[in-house]
Symmetry: C2
Subunit: 193 residues, 2 copies
Amino acid sequence: MSPRTKQQFETIREGRKDQIMQVALELFANEGINTPISKIAKEAGISKGLMYNYFESKDELLREVALSGMKEIFDLFDPNHDGVLTDEEFVYFISETFRLLEKNREYWKLYFSMVLHPKVMELIQAEMMEMLPGLMAVQVKYFASKGSKDPETDAMFFNSMMDGIGMNYVNNPDLFNLDKIKNRIIEIFTKNL
Amino acid sequence: MSPRTKQQFETIREGRKDQIMQVALELFANEGINTPISKIAKEAGISKGLMYNYFESKDELLREVALSGMKEIFDLFDPNHDGVLTDEEFVYFISETFRLLEKNREYWKLYFSMVLHPKVMELIQAEMMEMLPGLMAVQVKYFASKGSKDPETDAMFFNSMMDGIGMNYVNNPDLFNLDKIKNRIIEIFTKNL
DNA sequence: TATCTTTGACCGATCGTTCAGTCATAAATA
DNA sequence: TATTTATGACTGAACGATCGGTCAAAGATA
């Protein structure tokens, strides 16, 4: 095997971090954010001490796991980053959100349980406040173009609704027919408001 | 003071329990459910040991606090318990929910953060499963009377939406104009579906 | 005095974090 | 190339702190 550059080492290191974060995510989701570092390490196949080579502290691990989840959903909006939402992009966002929800339920279970935890909220609040305004602006523009008299309220309403549906679905998937609810949402929000 | 009957002692005891639960609620809400028993006791002005006269364990305290919050919101529905929702009762439920949300934000902050916590969910799942079907039945009947083609989905949708709005409001009250959103909800759900 | 209430020191368990030391491998040297 | 040196990934015992829960004893009450 040829010698590796620093760059390549860094890539390998990042890959390992991702693997640990994946394990941490699942454990946090199913056993709460109090899952011991030792358990995460064991599940990831490394020693407890090594965890501290990859993450400064448990809080830092929590923060990174929480943020990676946030970014995934935020990136769904305005996929080509032109600041404008077409009808197609809006429906795509809704569909894609629901697809992610179904595909990786454990993941989002953690996401909701973490995001509401006072301690985790503090850890990620700064980054959240950076992401929110841009997202809202795109939505407000969209709802305004649909004839909404109060696009800010409609955007707030829409986001809250999506949160509530996601939260309920991941915690009680048996009670949910996600497809029907998806169609209901699209019906309400893509017609002229 | 006149001698007290067993009944009266029981009433006093319940009152003290309520007071402790109120303190526990606020601490759980603001510092997470890992707040130590000792801290709750100190805040309530009693010793740690005495906590175990009122509550069998910390889990039991958690369970009771979580359930008392649930019951409060569940009782808002169908106030006269006749199994039928009028338009007035439906609007009353929405308004009252929002009033409670504004009046006792800390309380609901805890509620949402607790209800999503895996451990707490286990503790209260049995009772939740008892309450849910009755609540749903009343709502389904209501939405059906409003001409909904799929009242089950609409009820699910409605409840999830309310959860999402409540969750977002208690965590970010500054970003929310609750009145506007309330009117939007009433507008959507009381017209013929 | 007899009974009930309340206290807080104490215990065992668990957790996050540290760190001295090991070892495989990369880099330097001869 | 062969040998030595340097690196840093990795381990796990150990530490200090914290927690839920217990209990003997003090205090209050009747």
